[in-house]
Subunit: 402 residues, 2 copies
């Protein structure tokens, strides 16, 4: 047998490898030097008390015959599906518990969801982008159209930026965005929803960073920023929303997420929610009872209060870094409603030139924008997941950059 | 966009639905009647103490900054990969930790692994079979060849049972088998390994029930029964082994498993281990640290002792049921080295006729063999995962069947 030859078309991503190489080379020459790592995409704060307590309870339940859970329902435990449906309801989004699927996390779901697409699809990916969108579609043999974004549209492209006649089957949107931190307004998102409904495209909406949108955040038109694509009229007939507790609640190493697919979403006469039920019941045996117990605790009042205390720490890191970037007088986006700051490199420097100088002259590490797509050249990403102390010091050093 | 139309070719499995309907109808007429459910495929005993303790420790680690784990390595935590490699080593199987991948369970892995195959493959499935093998391949649009097994080969077909000229790309083998409980001998498995190496096919070996093979179990030739396909010479160049802690350690609702892919396995010039690394790093963010901590405890001496106490309870249930089947004087397989007994229906009854009579006359529930493929007609499956008390009563009632 000849296996899936699409894997031969995957390009190796050297971004994080190159960063590691440069850091190692620097540390070899400057042994013991402390670096301020603002490139990290992983969380650093432990799980909140409510989640820990629920996880312990979940483990205890598995220790006794009376409370032991065997196979879980493949699409999610009813108690968690209902809880998440209620979470949407609080924001005015009406999704039934059968429209919410519990997942092992957004990354897993972004991989698995391609089974629904079928083969030979045209897939639109806005760049700069999370590299896994591209790789998963290369593995499936889909045709990828990259839509480069830039400063001129605040890294938030609209369907009018597409070349005429291009009609993608699938459109990936990540908002708040990784890596740019830019957030679509309701009006901006409505353009994509309308476009998808008109062209019968399917939107994959990655909402992994929704919890970082500030409480009273509004777009330029004074309208509240959307946490969910289902806040937009028409989304029920075109969008799949993939959500995560990784950044919201520090679940990167604990794993649990959810996916919303309205029952109105039909393509080619097929109901996507039914297809996903069939996929889950065939290809999984559900998510761990213990993890679902922990995840449910995040959505209680206590859990929400506690996770927002952590999110506020990260958001304060962002504020500290934004002040530093402000002092450099360069353009940037993100930071306000996202854990990432996406800045223009000062003095017209290239992404890697700025990286080298920050590392060598200031011992600060960030991520060169060029690693997220060609249009990221000349830009740089800072993450806000580091410790407050390191962030304060990194910001101080950044301010002194000239 | 037109989604994956292969989903339209899926057949609904009415097996468990029909069973539920018949039970409900019976209970409606005989309110309050106690049924003895020997059809259940889920475990009933709670997790062992070693796993519970490790899971609690895992949760505690996630509560403190110093011990908190963010993103786990996508292919598995080194501590667990090494532990599983050591578990194989104890049985004389040499697999490096890089040849072992931690998974969310066999069911998930049996779904995900199809990405490696690519499209348009010819897939051989021995029947009676676990229905998900068929459904996952229908979703991919692969061509399925069913190889019916029967009493004449002890439900353990060999390559010589294949029609001449048939050369499958992928061969599914489940041993100990669900639903038949039959176990391949080393010699029987060697035939398939040789066939796969000669024809460049890929074997997917489902070893979910390996822990049920008794300590000193041998096949008719006096040779020990294989727990792993990697006990067979030549397997490193043709097989992927998918394993589970679900039945071994009661993890059906806790979720963790593992997959072994030797680095020697190449097809079409591609190294399957490399492809799986690329798949995992793109399409997952690894398995929960907490669950991996719990899984590792299963492989300690204490954990092994404790899980085998539970397995022995299930194996004793099997013994009780086998005595009853013996007394009916019908042919059967399984039970000795598997948690399933696969019996011929007494008196030449059809699968569903026997089901109806057992339910109505004896209040015992099992699974009609016809539900696992046409060649299962006239056979019946009993599972050994019920409570010892219920099993004893079910056996008593079965004995009185005439």
């Amino acid at each position: 047998m000849i296996p899936n030859t699409n894997y031969n078309n995957l390009k190796d991503s050297y971004l994080f490898y190159n960063i590691a190489q440069k850091i190692n080379a620097y540390l070899k020459e400057h042994e013991g030097t402390k670096l301020y790592r603002m490139g990290i995409g992983d969380v650093s704060l432990p799980l909140c008390d409510a989640a820990i307590r629920a996880l312990h309870e979940g483990v205890d339940d598995q220790s006794k015959k009376e409370t032991f859970h065997g196979y879980m329902p493949e699409c999610g435990a009813p108690f968690l599906r209902e809880t998440i449906s209620g979470y949407y309801q609080k924001r005015g989004v009406s999704l039934s518990s059968e429209e919410v699927f519990v997942s092992s996390g957004a990354s897993d779901e972004l991989g698995d969801i391609l089974d629904i697409f079928g083969k030979g699809k045209i897939v639109l990916i806005m760049e700069p982008a999370y590299p896994a969108y591209v790789d998963a579609n290369v593995m499936s043999g889909n045709t990828i159209i990259k839509l480069p974004a830039g400063k001129e549209n605040g890294f938030l492209p609209s369907p009018s930026d597409l070349e005429k006649g291009i009609s993608p089957d699938v459109i990936y949107i990540c908002s708040p965005n990784n890596p740019t931190g830019a957030v679509f307004s309701k009006a901006g998102l409505k353009e994509w929803v309308d476009f998808a409904n008109e062209t019968e495209a399917l939107i994959i909406f990655d909402a992994a960073y929704e919890a970082f949108i500030s409480k009273d955040a509004v777009s330029a038109d004074g309208v509240a920023l959307p946490h969910s694509i289902f806040e937009i009229e028409g989304a029920r007939t075109c969008a799949i929303e993939i959500c995560s507790l990784s950044k919201t609640a520090g679940f990167t190493g604990t794993r649990c997420g959810y996916t919303a697919i309205a029952k109105d979403l039909k393509r080619g006469g097929m109901t996507i929610n039914d297809m996903w039920v069939r996929n889950r019941t065939t290809k999984t045996n559900g998510v761990s009872y213990i993890l679902q117990k922990g995840a449910a605790a995040i959505f209680t009042d206590e859990g929400q209060r506690q996770i927002h205390e952590n999110i506020d720490i990260y958001k304060n890191n962002a504020k500290v870094l934004m002040e530093a970037v402000d002092s450099l007088g360069v353009w940037y986006t993100g930071g306000e409603n996202a854990p990432y700051i996406w800045m223009e490199c000062p003095g017209g420097l290239g992404s890697w030139e700025f990286f080298d100088r920050l590392l060598i002259e200031h011992q600060v590490v960030g991520t060169p924008g060029e690693g997220f797509g060609k249009c990221g050249e000349g830009y740089f990403r800072f993450s806000c997941f580091g410790s407050p102390e390191d962030t304060v010091e990194a910001a101080k050093r950044l301010k002194s950059f000239h």
